[in-house]
């Protein structure tokens, strides 16, 4: 199919629009000069400064731990929720269940953050690492459920039927045939939950406490003061590392491409 000129222009413009800001940040992280508009020569000084920046490093470490823990929890609960929804057509409260599961996908973060903080206050829990983790779990579960649910919808039921026909009990058929087939979707959901957690500012601001400052919170504080090269450097590191993770996971799941 030949592509019309209009289509090619749309593609180029669209993709350039998407990548321009990212590239700017990355390029200017190597700018020796502090100003955006002046190129002072290539330099990695800001990167060296990063490692020495203790509050930033601590925050990064916190973010990582929160992301790992919450992604794990969200994946488990989200997958369960998707399975519950897709494989059981009738149970008490199914409509409410689906509503509660998918509404957070579009709810503004500020609402989620506010309501969760109020929950923790009502329960009289100290805010810190665990409240952020639980809060992140709460909102990323819906994303995992969405992805796994989409995969389950596409799944041909004849695979599991064939397994049962060959002598597998329903549980065994699920574990040996269905689960391996939806594993890439579960992995994708887990990755999504991880990056959403890593990236979150609003919910973390509401639900964190002393000693549990996340990287976005730290960066945000500095961003309000203006554009600085340190932020550029930190941003570039984040961009590159997340992109690498995505590429690696995509490559790993490629081998299990199926019908």
């Amino acid at each position: 199919m030949r592509m019309s000129r209009f289509n090619i222009v749309s593609l180029v413009f669209g993709i350039a629009f998407l990548y321009l800001p990212i590239l700017i940040v990355m390029i200017y992280s190597f700018n020796a000069s502090k100003l955006v508009t002046v190129w002072g020569g290539f330099s990695t000084q800001w990167y060296r400064g990063l490692l020495a920046n203790k509050p930033l490093m601590d925050a990064a470490f916190v973010s990582l731990r929160v992301a790992l823990a919450s992604a794990l929890g969200a994946t488990i609960i989200g997958t369960m929720a998707a399975l519950a929804l897709r494989r059981h057509r009738r149970f008490v409260g199914r409509g409410l269940f689906a509503f509660m599961l998918f509404v957070p996908l579009v709810l503004p973060e500020i609402m989620t953050g506010l309501s969760l903080l109020l929950l923790f206050v009502a329960l009289d829990w100290d805010r810190g690492f665990w409240t952020i983790t639980l809060a992140h779990m709460a909102f990323t579960t819906s994303f995992v459920a969405f992805i796994v649910d989409a995969r389950l919808a596409d799944l041909d039921p004849s695979y599991e039927e064939a397994a049962r026909d060959l002598g597998a009990s329903p549980l065994s058929a699920f574990m040996r045939v269905t689960l391996p087939m939806i594993l890439p979707a579960i992995a994708a959901g887990c990755l999504l939950a991880f990056t959403l957690s890593l990236d979150d500012l609003v919910i973390a601001s509401f639900t964190s406490g002393p000693g549990a400052t996340t990287l976005p919170m730290r960066l945000y504080g500095q961003m309000r003061l203006g554009v600085t090269p340190e932020i550029n450097a930190a941003s570039t590191v984040l961009i590159v590392s997340v992109t690498l993770i995505v590429i690696v996971v995509a490559w790993l799941t490629r081998r299990h491409r199926q019908a």
Binding site: N7, L107, S235
Partner: protein, 294 residues
């Protein structure tokens, strides 16, 4: 009815982390602000039980809601949010539709690559991508600098700290949410219908408008809802890219909560926002149901 753990566990989780917080927000919205920790006097205590709640319901403090209607700030913020979210959504559509169309028309083996290209920026930090626009849009930022050095302008264009910046920010951040649903419907399209229209005498543009476009309405509506609803409550974009006179309800809520320490007010605003959001969400739900029975 068997109690299956695979249903029960997520159900309990969702009830605890979605329903319960919601009821707390409702309770808080009817409470009064106070110098206390936490900074409010609750409208009713949990331990009091149903009968007392019903009693108190008759004389609820609607102070927060009255204040909302009296102070033009809140209504303005709401209207402004709706306007900005709508404009942002329109801009997203303008960029996303040709992009999704181009990808759907691209050779089959390229499509996945192109989609990945569109989605990968989404994986990188939202905060950073908005921050990047600061560098681009500021009076002394790159765009003005480039325009100036090409001699196209004398004074820097006001691209930052205003409504325009917010609209651009929204369009930029929510692009994948519009591209993906549109692409999903475009990809399944039978292109021979458009060709048939052109065979019957329609120009390319008219064939698109009268044949292809109506078929993509479903994806379009999903995309609009996925962009408009979260954009309404956006905080980061107006905070980083907007100015002191750009109002968005998300920002107002944040400042009520953290700045004024007026938790009940923030809760009341949240309830208002929720009511507003309920409209598009109900529409989305109806469309989903219709799609599943079709």
């Amino acid at each position: 009815m068997k109690i299956r753990p695979v249903i029960l566990i997520p159900f309990l989780w969702l009830a605890l982390f979605f329903l319960v917080p919601l009821t707390i927000v409702v309770r808080l919205a009817f409470s009064e602000s106070a110098q206390a920790r936490p900074p409010y006097r609750p409208a009713f205590a949990w331990a009091e039980g149903w009968p007392v709640w019903l009693e108190k319901a008759k004389s609820l403090s609607l102070g927060n809601f009255e204040a909302m209607l009296e102070e033009t700030l809140y209504i303005d913020a709401l209207l402004s949010s709706a306007g900005l979210a709508a404009t942002g959504t329109a801009l997203v559509l303008l960029i996303a539709y040709p992009l999704a169309y181009a990808i759907a028309r691209a050779p089959r083996d390229r499509r996945v690559l192109l989609l990945t290209l569109v989605v990968v920026p989404f994986w990188t930090s939202f905060l950073i991508r908005i921050y990047a626009w600061i560098a681009l849009l500021k009076p002394e930022g790159l765009i003005n600098y480039a325009l100036k050095s090409f001699g196209l302008i004398d004074a820097p264009l006001p691209l930052f700290g205003n409504h325009l910046a917010i609209v651009i920010g929204i369009a930029y951040s929510y692009l994948p949410f519009m591209v993906l649903p549109l692409y999903a419907t475009l990809e399944k399209l039978d292109w021979s219908l458009e060709e048939a229209a052109r065979d019957l005498g329609a120009t390319r543009l008219r064939a698109f408008w009268r044949v292809t476009f109506p078929q993509t309405l479903r994806g379009l509506i999903v995309g609009i809802l996925l962009v408009f609803v979260p954009a309404l409550g956006e905080f980061i974009i107006p905070d980083l890219l907007g100015g002191s006179d750009t109002l968005m309800i998300g920002k107002v809520m944040w400042s009520e909560f953290f700045g004024n320490r007026d938790w009940p007010m923030a809760a009341a605003l949240a309830m208002l926002l929720l009511c507003l959001l309920a409209i598009p969400l109900v529409i989305l739900r109806m469309l989903e149901d219709r799609r599943e029975t079709a």
